[in-house]
Amino acid sequence: MKNNLENNLARFVRILRHLGIKVSIGETITALNALLLVDLLNRAHVKAALRATLVKNHDEQLLFDQAFESFFTIPEVREQQREEWEERKTEGARLIEAAEEELAYQGEKLDLTEEEKLLYAQLPEAEKKRIKEYLEASYLPEDRYSRFKPMLEYQIRGSLRYWKQRLAEEDELLYLLNEDVDDEVLASVLHQLGQEDSNLLYEDMKRIGERDLPKVTNILKKLSRKLATKISRRYRMSKKAVKIDLRRSIKSNVRYGGIIFKLKFKQKRVQKPQILLICDVSGSMARYAAFVIQFIYGLSAVMKHIESFIFAEELEYATPFFNQLRPLEETMVELIGKSRIWGKGTNLGASLNALKTNYPLLLTSRTIVIIVSDTKTLELERAEQELVGVKRLVKDILWLNTLPQDEWKDLRSVPTFQRHCRMFECYTLAHLEKVTRKQFLH
């Protein structure tokens, strides 16, 4: 029994870690000790014990609840989950095999990963046909074949990458490889969790429907309030690395007859940073537009002196739209209606240049620039140069990237910009919450 308990706990902790909850070994041991103190047959007690010892953040507790329900389920349901998972695995293997047959060049299999083959199997029939025809048309004599094959594979990979993103956006990827998970119970639970309606916090913001917008607004308001509280607070400086304030020291020690017992130190006045938001509203970011507007709206509602810009091909000053304390819907309609750049192509370089030229007073050593964008832009080199230029003028640049981190490696623009700013993955509210927490509230 004890072995089973330890084993199950370790597996459950692994699920939590897969879901992004940080659980240390120390906490796992505490959880095990806690389990020994409660009635193991009482599900509510077990849940409360694990929740209190493994998860230390309220938002993560919601994720924990889902994981707990999926993992600690009755054996029949567990068996059913496992069977479903097995079926999917078999089907996945069959699809990979079929893809291997089809993706051959002159009878030899192409060097593609399992994931790529699985992705190919899920492409629309027309696209599969196009790839097959392309392979057939690329016939080369034997002597040039070995040199040409890697190039062909590279092209197919590029096409598959494009389709991966597109199918994921349309929620049409049914089979995904999860190579990290070798345990079938874990795999089935993780799959189950992926199938469930996720919490709004963990939902990709572009998929959040209009129905949930009021809830999102509330979450963003809460976040913005926290941010505003932190920024308006002045923590007293410690005694380290500050100068003695002689005048205050003498004054406060008069009561000891002039003998200086207590030293007073000069306190550095903590200046509030000036936040400057630059949000990408180009075509590729269009699906995040609602979130972008709400983010600015939420922040503007609780923080004074926040400057906001939107950009696509050009830069537009958006602060006045958010300063009028109107309902979100009105602000959104007016902003989209009046903007000339909404949904167009992206030129970050030109936009940053316009910012430097037209609004130089906003770029000071107190300014923290927050860029919300997927990094896809025209004139990458120019954009990099302009970013370096802005970096020199301001305190810090934070980049909230709406692309999932595992796609960053596929884009040249990501490492280019990453060299000059701090970039964070930010496509769910949970990401935004985490960035806010770690960068501003810590």
Partner: protein, 308 residues
């Protein structure tokens, strides 16, 4: 207070004895913190009863409550110990003549001249006490790191006196309003408890326990009204349990039997403490609207009970 044999039922009855309505979601983490001798970190909106838990524990286990109220700029001197400078000065002047310097120094840095602040008091207590570290998020990171060390070993080194270790590990309750993210290190060492606003049923129970003079109908309507305000009006500061109880007491004073629009109008300042919130309430709902909403909620609840 022997915690080694403590049971969940004992904790539950302790809470009941102190008049704190709590279910297993609160009882279990508190029980675990006591049994595992770990600090309990309680978070939740202001006024949901975080601080009250420390008071309840002190009451239930018949021990002392030592409170450290955190605020911006709190440092070790105010939290741990300080030398009594004034007393030391007087002593120096009194024995200025005729005593060797070494003896003066020994005397001056003895226990007599030590001012114990809450943390040292809790460590040095002759019995197990409850140490409440209230609103930990109001301090800065440095103090948090210092606290973290004290809470790990429950011992303090005073250069002039040596190391003072605790004889009884205190029950530590930390409360957090979530204004600042606490360090992972501190969180890792604590048992975590999040207290949410109570359900309607639980709030009715709380009202009845804390304001026994209130009638059944009025208690229910107050709970429904508060629930509506919390969940349907986008307030900056949602009314907490303490505000619910203020409203209930005020209504009892008015001799009300049921909640009416004029009562809401007269007591809205007890519930909403921000001018913007009051304006928003009057604009979106209004006293008469709130009564109507309660009625609708009651009808729906009744319907649900009949059909399920």
């Amino acid at each position: 207070m022997n915690l080694a044999k403590l049971t969940i039922d004992q904790v539950r009855s302790g809470f009941e004895k102190a008049g704190y309505i709590a279910e297993d979601d609160i009882i279990i983490p508190v029980y675990l913190a006591l049994r595992l001798e770990k600090p309990i970190l309680i978070t939740g909106a202001p006024g949901v009863g975080k601080t009250e838990i420390a008071k309840v524990l002190a009451y239930a286990f018949e021990t002392d409550l030592i409170r450290l109220q955190c605020y911006e700029g709190l440092d070790e001197n105010k939290a741990l110990y300080e030398w009594n400078y004034q007393r030391q000065l007087i002593k120096i002047q009194l024995i200025k003549e005729g005593t060797s310097d070494e003896l003066i120094e020994q005397n001056l840095f003895s226990r007599d001249y030590l001012l114990e602040r809450p943390l040292l008091k809790a460590i040095q207590a002759p019995k197990k006490v409850v140490l409440l570290i209230d609103e930990i998020d109001k301090t800065d990171e440095e103090f948090e790191a210092f606290l973290f060390e004290v809470l790990s070993d429950f011992q303090v080194s005073i250069p002039e006196l040596g190391t003072l270790a605790s004889r009884y590990i205190p029950v530590v309750v930390l409360t957090n309003n979530g204004e600042r993210e606490l360090s992972d290190g501190l969180k890792r060492r604590c048992v975590f408890l999040f207290i949410d606003f109570p359900s309607i049923e639980k709030e009715i129970k709380i009202i009845k326990v804390k304001v026994p003079e209130i009638g059944e109908r009025l208690a229910k309507e107050v709970a429904l009204a508060i629930h509506y305000l919390r969940h349907h009006v986008d307030l900056k500061k949602k009314p907490s349990i303490s505000e619910t109880l203020d409203l209930a007491r005020a209504l009892v004073l008015f001799g009300a039997q049921k909640l009416e629009a004029q009562h809401v109008k007269q007591t809205i300042n007890l519930l909403l403490k921000d001018k913007d919130d009051i304006d928003l309430f009057n604009q979106q709902v209004g006293p008469a609207g709130l009564i109507e909403c309660i009625q609708n909620q009651q009808d729906k609840r009744l319907e649900r009970r009949i059909f399920t």
